[in-house]
């Protein structure tokens, strides 16, 4: 058989036939192109060439790790460090709670002394009892406090605190409500329902929190109990009507970013109030969350496109410096034809093969006189490019004639009288097509 034969056909034949069989069947056709016979020869000697490649290499020396007695406890280092970090992290969140819990108080106006704290708790308990008693007999003297039951002994202090905790936990709603200028808790009403007949001491202790800056500046102890609130609210599906609380509690969960932002936010905090670190952190986290929600819109269209395409972060080097072979710079692939042209020109000027490989898709078809008369695929382009880079290269001028969804038409001109790929002063129009990643998959002379 002497049918016409080319390299592609020969490749397919070699998959199923030996070189001898091909010569027997296509002897005459093989002589039409000397490359065909050479491919057969190369294929026959490929195993030997590969073996030669193997034996040519000398490996480096293996350097065994140098272990010492430290090795015995090294495997424990990482788990210990992780445990230590966990403890520190947990402690930083938990440690303030006992203090804040200890500073829980009923009276909003001042930070109580320890004895005052006991007294204020006792007063609350007493008031409750007095309320109940009044409602029963309506005969409560003004100095009811003096005639009331003696203060609870210290041994009952824990019980008292337990009883008052729900009230105290409710207070932050009032606090946040005040910050928002909004709703107040039910306990405020209960506290404000004190009758005028109460002693001045009781009245002072039970004075409703002022809705002013003064109150905000004194809110620190109250706000100290805020960390409890997220857990409480989440556990009890608490009040969701307060917008700030809602945001703050939801934002409280990601704790890691808090520490970085808190110090920055501290400097910018309002002087009119002394927000607790945790409230601040909640607001900061909320801002951070908002920033993250916005960040995809701010990212470069290239990265979005690449991520949307599910591609890893690969791209072309846009630096104008001469290529450094030992530097693997991975930047974003250009999408716009103009930036592609800039990158191609830079690659031409710098002789950067890496850039060329990234600018062109693997399935590119190139019929561009800049690279010669024949149509090239990517592998051939790469080889042709390397050959071109060995010779002095004149600069190339690009002019974007038009661009659209189908690609771009570019006018190109070599700015020199020297020849490129056998053409003297070459130039003309070229139509470039691009794939979704901004790589050129077509370069052809427009009809």
């Amino acid at each position: 058989m002497n049918a016409k034969l080319d390299l592609d056909h020969l490749e397919r034949l070699l998959e199923t036939m030996t070189p001898a069989e091909i010569r027997a069947q296509f002897g005459k056709a093989l002589r039409t192109d000397p490359r065909l016979e050479e491919v057969l020869c190369r294929f026959e000697g490929m195993d030997g060439s590969l073996r030669a490649l193997k034996s040519a290499e000398r490996p480096p020396e293996f350097r065994a790790p140098q272990y010492s007695s430290v090795r015995a406890w090294l495997p424990w280092t990482l788990p210990l460090a992780a445990a230590l970090l966990l403890v520190i992290f947990a402690g930083s969140r938990l440690l303030p709670l006992p203090e804040k819990a200890a500073s829980v108080r009923v009276a909003p106006d001042r930070e109580p002394e320890p004895q005052d704290r006991v007294d204020s708790i006792t007063l609350t308990e007493e008031l409750d009892r007095m309320e109940l008693a009044r409602s029963d007999d309506e005969k409560r003297p003004a100095s009811a406090f003096a005639d009331s039951e003696p203060p609870a002994p210290p041994s009952d202090q824990a019980e008292i605190e337990k009883k008052t905790v729900p009230k105290e936990r409710a207070r932050p709603r009032e606090t946040l409500g005040d910050l928002a200028g909004g709703a107040t808790g039910d306990d405020i009403d209960s506290l404000e329902s004190t009758e005028p007949e109460e002693s001045a001491l009781v009245e002072a202790a039970l004075r409703p929190p002022p809705k002013s800056k003064e109150r905000r500046s004194q809110n620190q102890p109250r706000q100290n109990i805020l960390p409890q609130d997220p857990e409480v609210d989440r556990a009890t599906a608490g009040n969701e009507t307060d917008a700030i609380k809602q945001e703050g509690f939801r934002a409280a969960s990601p704790a890691a970013p808090l520490k970085d932002k808190a110090s920055d936010r501290d400097a910018a905090a309002s002087s009119t109030r002394e927000p607790s670190p945790l409230v601040e952190k909640e607001l900061v986290v909320e801002e951070d969350r908002q920033e993250r929600a916005d960040s995809p819109r701010k990212s470069s269209p290239v990265s979005v496109a690449e991520e949307a395409a599910g591609q890893p972060a690969r791209g072309v080097r846009l630096a104008g410096a001469k290529a450094q072979p030992d530097v693997r710079r991975v930047e974003r692939a250009p999408l716009h034809p103009k930036t592609w042209l800039d990158a191609f020109r830079e690659a031409w000027d710098a002789g950067d093969t890496a850039m060329v490989r990234m600018l062109f898709a693997t399935d590119v078809s190139i019929s561009w006189p800049l690279f010669g008369p024949s149509t090239l695929d990517r592998a051939t382009l790469d080889r042709r490019w390397r050959k071109l880079m060995e010779a002095p290269r004149p600069p190339i001028h690009f002019e974007l004639v038009s661009s659209g969804a189908a690609g771009a038409v570019v006018r190109w001109q070599v700015l020199s009288q020297s020849s490129v790929a056998g053409n003297t002063n070459p130039g003309g129009l070229v139509r470039l097509g691009f794939d979704g990643q901004g790589r050129c998959n077509l370069a052809a002379v427009p009809r």
Partner: protein, 191 residues
């Protein structure tokens, strides 16, 4: 002639017992193949050296887990395959540019005799071209071809390791050699 697997087994045991000389001797039998695999996978010699050390160290640390001494070679090259894949995930192949002496595996002894020198240079040029053509192959084809050529793993074992059909591996290897032959010829005609 001593049984190689017994030799490997005794070295494994020595390594487990803490003999620091055991592992280098174990590595002697495969290091050339491993190095050849790596230099034909990656473009830069420094990367090949880093991978070589990384793979050797992994094998050194995990050798106690190897139950079957006869599988040492394929076990080591499994580590190599995974390490190279991780490497390419971190550093996608970019440039085929080389500088004298920096390209992986470019160092070669040149004899004093002029004829040998010319022959060596021609052979070096041939090998240089072949290495570049290998690196132009798709990653999977290159990996399978080098496992057969450099690692000298049986095709059945390659198929088992990579989860492929044996016929698929055979086809890929043959097709890779055909492609290399054509690429070598085309590169030669452009010179």
């Amino acid at each position: 002639m001593s049984n190689p697997s017994l030799h490997v087994e005794s070295l494994l045991k020595a390594h487990t017992d803490g003999d620091p000389r055991a592992f280098p001797r174990l590595l002697d039998g495969v290091k050339n193949d491993l190095w050849g695999y790596l230099v034909n996978q990656v473009q830069m010699r420094q990367d090949a050296e880093d991978l070589y050390q990384e793979i050797s160290l992994k094998a050194y640390k995990n050798l106690k887990r190897l139950r079957d001494p006869t599988k040492f070679r394929s076990w080591l090259f499994s580590i190599a395959v995974n390490s190279v894949r991780s490497f390419f995930r971190r550093k996608p192949m970019l440039s085929l540019e080389t500088l004298g002496g920096e390209e992986a595996g470019s160092a070669r002894e040149i004899t004093q005799d002029k004829r040998d020198m010319v022959r060596d240079l021609e052979l070096e040029e041939e090998l240089y071209r072949l290495r570049h053509c290998i690196q132009d192959l798709p990653e999977r084809e290159r990996e399978i071809l080098l496992l057969e050529v450099m690692a000298e793993l049986p095709q059945k074992e390659i198929a088992d390791r990579l989860g492929l059909n044996l016929n698929t591996v055979k086809t890929i290897i043959r097709r890779s050699k055909i492609k290399l032959a054509r690429m070598m010829v085309e590169a030669g005609y452009e010179c």
